[in-house]
Symmetry: C2
Subunit: 535 residues, 2 copies
DNA sequence: TCTGGGCCAGTAATAAAGTGA
DNA sequence: ATCACTTTATTACTGGCCCAG
């Protein structure tokens, strides 16, 4: 079904579909019925397909033919299904709209193709957008009169658009991206929301002779480089059809970096760079746990491992699945690993397992549901969450273990920044509120002195795990508090140039925190920059 | 408002917060308050940020300061801003939901972090989802009673999720992806909607010793392989901060492939393969024009070119921009090239520029708007569009000229199409109407015998340009009509194994076409195979 | 009892489509 | 093709109520 749903839409559309639709859903997909399903994504990755599927609904195609019949069948009808314009598409559409509110058919077509939308969808979007604009214009029109361009588009921000990945990584040397979905180090885990988001990117840089894990969280980039020579052993197991789980055993911790974004430059474009910093993973697990598990493209991973020629455990050879699809089941990773795999072929595995279960693994963390949480963490900081501008996308999760005390939760969560304290608002960028507050004191071993106020709960930021409260930190977030001690950890072992404590300098954690606290919600940043639209 | 809204959810939840809260917000953090701005997306790409903004509604920041003012302002209030769960998130959420409809706070947190959502958002989602389920269950409940699990999740499809890129490419050999945004061959152009969509992927396969352009359109994959040895010369120019434009001059045409998807396999997972086929670009330009321009990661492209050691034009060395950001302006590609660049730093440029300009190039196609279109093509098949499942994502554009005439604009923007002739509204641009079908007879030299029925116009499917009508072909689409003659073109030159006419075998083009036509919308392919979910 | 959380029902608001003209 | 509505879906809020401290 899914397919169709996606499909035809419209057209036939017409639809009527009336109620039955629902019915229909129920039938086939019913459950999902909800729209969700079909997303427009369409083509893209297979994954895409999936995603949408969820909705199930639509009996797929019912084409029109049956049209009449439709009603009947169960399922059927296709209902209208609702597509969802992705954020990227939306941005583009708004931009197009600001230039021309009523694009011609030809132009619409172009837009549709550019954005991967159906023409019908685009047409409707413009129509609805026009209606919306009319209302808005009406309202403020009185005041302003700037009918056209003004409102929606965010100026420059909009521009940045497709640059994407390379911009994020901003490495000087060429790199080979390893499509991946999950990275786990101890209980710390990061899941790529979507490949597109680039919130988790793994790549090999031959020039630097290292493997790198890049994470984008709350508007900032974080990365850790693993020199090839620190990789003692590797292991590989096929996971799902085209994916595998590669485990890297290191002799010493990786080198951590934090992205620096300097407003500099005359223009406005910030200058981005990387500066070494202390371990920004929750509980500094990346420093403590020398095993890194990465789930990603089987072919690419196998290739990487082969080139490292260190693969020991795997047995000599890495066998991959044939290119074609195969039922997921076949490959069965070891139990441990299996847990890491996020793709669920079978939906069920992943999610709950942990729930009441144990985590097993090497951790002993309790994690049971909420109750266990760290007191502080758990506290009711609720109000804050609002603060965070956009959430930080990524998912970081800290799992329990080494870090033991942290969150009771299963590995997944954990917030990001926990550790560092990003200078508050500092810049703008994304705005951070920084919130950063004081994360819970003891959750993390580190020294960070920050006072924890409730604020803290939500405030944090970076990739590491998060903390209790809701939201993700605002974008700014930034550095970890880096515990002074941090350097010790791997510093001694691996000492590279990254030891720098710069973090501290940049932001006085305490001040920030207090700040945030006081206000209660004062988030400092209004987001304005992004798109300030001109009124 | 928003802020809070977003915020705290829960917890504090309680909420009450009464109004004052809002007020409060306004106070301190106020600005941010509006949630709107913040979408949850947060982090991801820069683009994200934009997207949301769209709503504009909120005046951007009204910050709270004025808080009180709020009411006043026109606009006002920040409204609640509405976040949108991305398709990926949705899929995950549905899966989580199917396993547990009421996750505990801890679990919710984990989920939130995993998906990059705010906890509040997740909480609300589950709550609303529960309500929805209740309704649904109620309805069908009578019938079925399968309360829990059944409905929503799509079974396996859901699982496939993140597989993404590798699955799409399904190459047996390891490949190195070259992040790219635009590919142009003659007037045929393809733009990556988003990196994530993988609708345009360029990669190097050392093992096969070739460079490959992969395109995903309408559910099918298309690719053309360029053997290293057919690359006579290369050229490289920096385009935007991290991107460059690489031009490849070939001695002979690439080898074209079409993805085959066989429902096969016992399970249900389709088996995907590649089979050679004739040029699927619009007007078979890839066969005629031996210059390929790819805009993508400067670093990666430079690396590739270096390895090919054929770069001639560039001058000896390829200099890249420093990793940090720089104003887009600095790099100025040659005028010609500039046009290709799609990134707009400044939003405006892109779109309209070309509008009325000429196309030049070797074609003489009129292209003016619709009128010109090939009769067949143009025909009113519109209804079909609906057909297409999800749209095919990609954007293809046929640009017009030899690039020369292009755009006046500064490098950055450009829209994608502008330069080329965007046919005046005509067509789309991107889409060419061309549709292949009979395209204008003379526009393209090839013989392709395909019968052009109007169907053909849209039916085609592939990436090439599209044709007039809307939609992209349904996923199945498939093969191009391949003009029998096709083999001649490059076949003689490059003859590889791809000459096979298999296409014909697989699908009787005529039959398909007629089929579709007849029905009006009967698209034959429901996409089904891709993911048929099992009921 | 109050408080923190959470759930639910109900309800705005808005987005994506459909309808009819 | 557009417009004015209308539908349906989705997201978020508001309140009421419950439960555990």
């Amino acid at each position: 079904m899914s397919m169709d749903s996606a499909v035809s839409p419209a057209e036939s559309s017409s639809t009527h579909s009336h109620d039955e639709d629902e019915r229909a859903d129920s039938l086939d997909s019913s459950p999902c019925s909800s729209t969700s399903p079909l997303t427009p994504d369409d083509s893209p990755s297979p994954s895409e397909a999936l995603g949408p599927e969820k909705d199930s609904n639509a009996g797929p195609i019912r084409t029109r033919s049956s049209s009449a019949a439709s009603s009947k069948e169960s399922d059927t009808k296709e209902k209208r299904k609702r597509s969802r314009v992705t954020p990227e598409q939306l941005a583009h559409l708004e931009r197009y709209f600001s230039m021309d509110r009523s694009p011609t058919a030809g132009r619409r077509k172009e837009i549709s193709e550019t954005l991967g939308m159906q023409e019908r969808q685009t047409q409707i979007w413009f129509q609805n957008r026009r209606a919306k604009a009319k209302l808005q214009d009406g309202k403020k029109g009185g005041r302003n009169g700037i009918a056209d361009v003004p409102p929606d588009m965010p100026p420059e921000l909009a521009a940045g658009f497709d640059v994407s990945l390379q911009t994020m990584i901003h490495e000087c040397e060429p790199v080979t991206i390893i499509p991946c979905t999950d990275l786990s180090i101890g209980t710390w885990k990061r899941i790529a929301t979507t490949v597109s988001r680039h919130d988790l990117v793994a790549y090999v840089c031959e020039a630097k002779h290292c493997l790198t894990w890049f994470i984008h969280s709350a508007g900032y980039g974080f990365k850790m480089e693993i020199p090839f020579d620190s990789i003692v052993e590797t292991k590989f197991v096929n996971a799902a059809p085209g994916t595998g789980l590669a485990s890297f055993f290191l002799s010493h911790p990786p080198i951590f970096f934090l992205e620096t974004i300097t407003p500099s430059s005359s223009s406005g474009a910030p200058v981005r760079g990387w500066k070494p910093c202390s371990d920004w993973t929750e509980g500094m697990q990346a420093t403590k746990v020398l095993r890194h598990d990465l789930v990603g493209s089987a072919v690419q991973l196998a290739h990487v491992l082969r080139n490292l020629n260190v693969n020991s455990s795997t047995g000599a050879e890495i066998s991959l699945h044939p290119p074609s699809y195969r039922p997921a089941a076949d490959v069965s990773p070891t139990p441990t690993q299996a847990s890491i795999l996020g793709f669920v072929e079978s939906p069920h595995d992943l999610i709950h397992p942990s729930r009441s279960e144990t985590y097993g693994y090497d951790l002993q963390r309790p994690h049971s549901g909420d109750s266990l949480q760290h007191p502080l963490t758990h506290s009711p900081r609720s109000p804050d969450e609002g603060l965070i501008p956009h959430s930080t996308s990524p998912s970081l999760v800290a799992s329990g273990a080494g870090y033991a005390r942290m969150s009771p939760h299963p590995p997944r969560n954990f917030s990001l920044y926990p550790d560092y304290a990003e200078p508050p608002k500092a810049h703008s960028y994304r705005v951070q509120e920084l919130d950063v507050p004081g994360r819970d004191a003891n959750s993390f071993p580190m020294t960070h002195s920050t006072p924890l106020t409730r604020r803290s709960s939500y405030g944090e930021g970076p990739p590491s795990s998060s903390h209790s409260s809701y939201s993700s930190p605002s974008p700014h977030i930034v550095h970890t508090p880096f515990h002074s001690s941090s350097s010790d950890y791997w510093g001694s072992q691996h000492a590279t140039n990254h030891t720098s404590p710069m973090l501290s300098g940049s932001l006085p954690s305490s001040s920030l925190l207090s700040d945030s606290q006081g206000s209660g919600m004062g988030y400092s940043q209004p987001v304005a920059h992004h798109y300030s639209k001109l009124p």
